[in-house]
């Protein structure tokens, strides 16, 4: 297999800006991106820097962007990603490049540390070991697979514009501890993450779930974390109010009320209302403003009955 690697190079001590360098490499069929990078470094250009360790998709150090998307170099075979014989390799996004494919993961680790990823002991020391039943372990299995490779953080669409956002990996891990029956600080965790730029800032783009090499499905963890936040009664945030108002609206009319939802989400804050006014006026002029009182859909009674029945089961 002949592959043209187009690798983003950057040495802050020598280069003013990143540039792309081509390497033509002969590899065996089925070779991984990491096989290629190692061959380039060993045989063609010893100055190329990249992280790697286990070569078995468990250490999480070799994540890079292949054709623009984060993946583990060791787990990714080249063949399906070749486009006209070319493979583009670049460092992870949302983090500063130290050299070539090596990024400074400080912001990622800060977010992970911020959720306090260790079990908080309960105030009373248990007399015997914690027995955890299978159904209580089940929700922890996926987030526990995280190898902290930062692929999700690299491609997170919210982190791209807001560096304060916790990011998918930290939130998935946050959920993992909130959902752990042995943890003694679930309540505080829920409050902390709900008030910070964390639980409610995810825009549900599913990029994390798509890129995660260990199938953690971080977005599903975030959804479950949101559910636990509401169930714990921590609802004094725009995010939680948004969900509650949404459910209320569907129960009431069978549909979403686009006028009352943002009002309820923002909690009738005069400043927020004022900032919404210019667009609301433009929308009214364009005939895009729905009626504030939505008429229920036909058979709305059926909607209410099944919503109530489903909740009873809960």
């Amino acid at each position: 297999m002949e592959v043209r690697f187009q690798i983003q190079r950057f040495d802050p001590e020598a280069d003013r800006r990143p540039y792309t360098k081509d390497y033509d490499v002969s590899l065996f069929d089925g070779a991984t991106v990491l096989d290629g990078l190692i061959k380039i470094k060993d045989e063609m250009d010893g100055t190329l820097s990249f992280r790697r360790s286990c070569r078995s998709a468990i250490c999480g150090s070799c994540a890079v962007r292949v054709n623009g998307n984060a993946m583990l170099a060791c787990k990714t075979q080249i063949q399906p990603h070749l486009r006209n014989g070319v493979l583009k390799v670049a460092p992870l996004g949302n983090m500063r490049v130290i050299k070539d494919l090596v990024v400074d993961m400080t912001p990622f680790w800060q977010q992970i540390r911020g959720i306090q990823p260790w079990l908080a002991t309960k105030p009373v020391v248990p007399e015997r070991e914690n027995i955890v039943s299978q159904d209580k372990v089940e929700p922890l299995l996926k987030p526990a697979q995280c190898i902290m490779c930062a692929s999700c953080y690299s491609d997170c669409n919210v982190a791209e514009v807001d560096k304060a956002f916790a990011g998918p990996a930290a939130l998935a891990k946050g959920f993992r501890f909130v959902a752990d029956v042995r943890d003694g600080a679930s309540g505080e965790r829920i409050k902390r993450m709900s008030g910070a730029r964390a639980t409610w800032e995810c825009s549900r783009c599913y990029t994390c779930t798509e890129v995660c090499p260990k199938h953690v499905a971080p977005l599903d963890c975030i959804s479950l974390l949101r559910g636990k936040t509401i169930a714990a009664g921590v609802t004094d945030t725009p995010g939680a109010r948004h969900v509650e108002a949404f459910v209320e609206s569907v129960k009431h009319t069978g549909r979403l009320n686009e006028v009352s939802l943002p009002l309820k989400t923002r909690g009738f804050d005069p400043k927020a209302l004022l900032s919404m006014a210019p667009i609301a006026i433009k929308m009214t002029i364009k005939g895009k403003m729905p009626l504030p009182i939505e008429r229920p859909i036909p058979e709305v009674e059926d909607i209410r009955r099944i919503m109530e029945a489903a909740e009873e089961d809960k």
């Binding site: 054709n67 919210v158 825009s203 783009c205 599913y206 729905p290």
Partner: protein
């Protein structure tokens, strides 16, 4: 071609031009749409966060109604597409969940047996109608339009639930744009998130996301944008002025709903396609590009 037509809430609320143009274009193409007037909201993932069983019951009911009529569902919103497809997959593949949901649906005399498929207008145009057939219907090729495709997240990801396009390298919107005689413009943001689902919660974040993609599209040479999702359209079109002030750049990029664009190429009048309702005025561009 006949579908159970699921409009979703927004196409009947803040983007009524999407519903109107879809109906007109479908009629012109001979696609029969039976509107599901009593279908509920899909829950948009919000109801899931509150209770997964409740969301599954709502979408299970919608699927059961379509099954009763012997029709597959056609949607015109990415979020509706994903939520209906998610419930559909769960109910088709997990007998325990199906039984639990059918117990709830039994209270209103319904049950779902897994006999419905959920498609999106974009996919139906390509897979069911066919691009060659569409091409043959084009009376007014959109030659002067350089169009930035904006897919929106939930028509691509998670690919396990959608699967029509490669989420990293989608081509469906481009193929429709080309079939209509226009030129697709590639740019980094085309598969990224507009931020709509956090618009009312973290508006600055959402506007930074929207502004970034619009700006990239413009810098890549696009003179307009198209999206298959009304929620993306709200951010990209209705909120474009806010995104402009946030990024400090004037953009003025008209954003079309997919059926509006198809309709223009079929020779339909802009008024019929409700282009008057689009917030960023597209008439000047259409005039300059020689699109009648």
């Amino acid at each position: 071609m006949r579908y159970a037509y699921f409009t979703g809430c927004v196409a009947k609320g803040t983007t009524p031009e999407l519903n109107a143009s879809t109906l007109k274009v479908a009629e012109k193409l001979g696609i029969e749409l039976e509107e599901m007037k009593s279908a509920s909201c899909c829950g948009a993932g919000m109801v899931d966060e509150y209770s997964e069983d409740t969301a599954r019951a709502l979408n299970g009911r919608t699927l059961a109604l379509a099954e009763r009529d012997g029709l597959n569902i056609l949607t015109i919103c990415n979020v509706c597409t994903l939520n209906l497809r998610k419930a559909n997959k769960e109910l088709k593949e997990d007998p325990e969940l199906r039984e639990r949901t059918n117990k709830v649906l039994g209270k209103i005399g319904l049950q779902y047996n897994g006999g419905v498929d959920v498609t999106q207008f974009l996919w139906a145009l390509i897979k069911d109608y066919g691009l060659d057939k569409l091409k043959a219907q084009v009376k007014n090729p959109l030659t002067g339009l350089k169009i930035a495709p904006f897919y929106g997240c939930q028509i691509l990801r998670p690919s396990e639930l959608n699967g029509f396009d490669d989420p990293n390298n989608p081509t469906s919107l481009e193929s429709v744009i080309t079939a209509l005689g226009a030129e697709p413009v590639d740019y980094d943001g085309k598969t990224k998130c507009c931020g709509f689902l956090i618009l009312t919660v973290y508006e600055e974040t959402a506007m930074a996301m929207t502004g970034r993609h619009l700006q990239q599209a413009k810098e890549a040479g696009a003179n307009c944008m198209v999206t298959p999702c009304p929620l993306c359209h709200i951010n990209l079109d209705i909120y474009q002025s806010k995104a402009e002030s946030q990024i400090g750049t004037k953009l003025g990029l008209p954003v079309f709903h997919l059926p509006q664009l198809v309709g223009l190429a079929l020779g339909m009048q802009p008024a019929t396609l409700r282009l008057t309702r689009n917030m960023v005025n597209p008439y000047k561009l259409l005039h300059e590009a020689g699109v009648k």
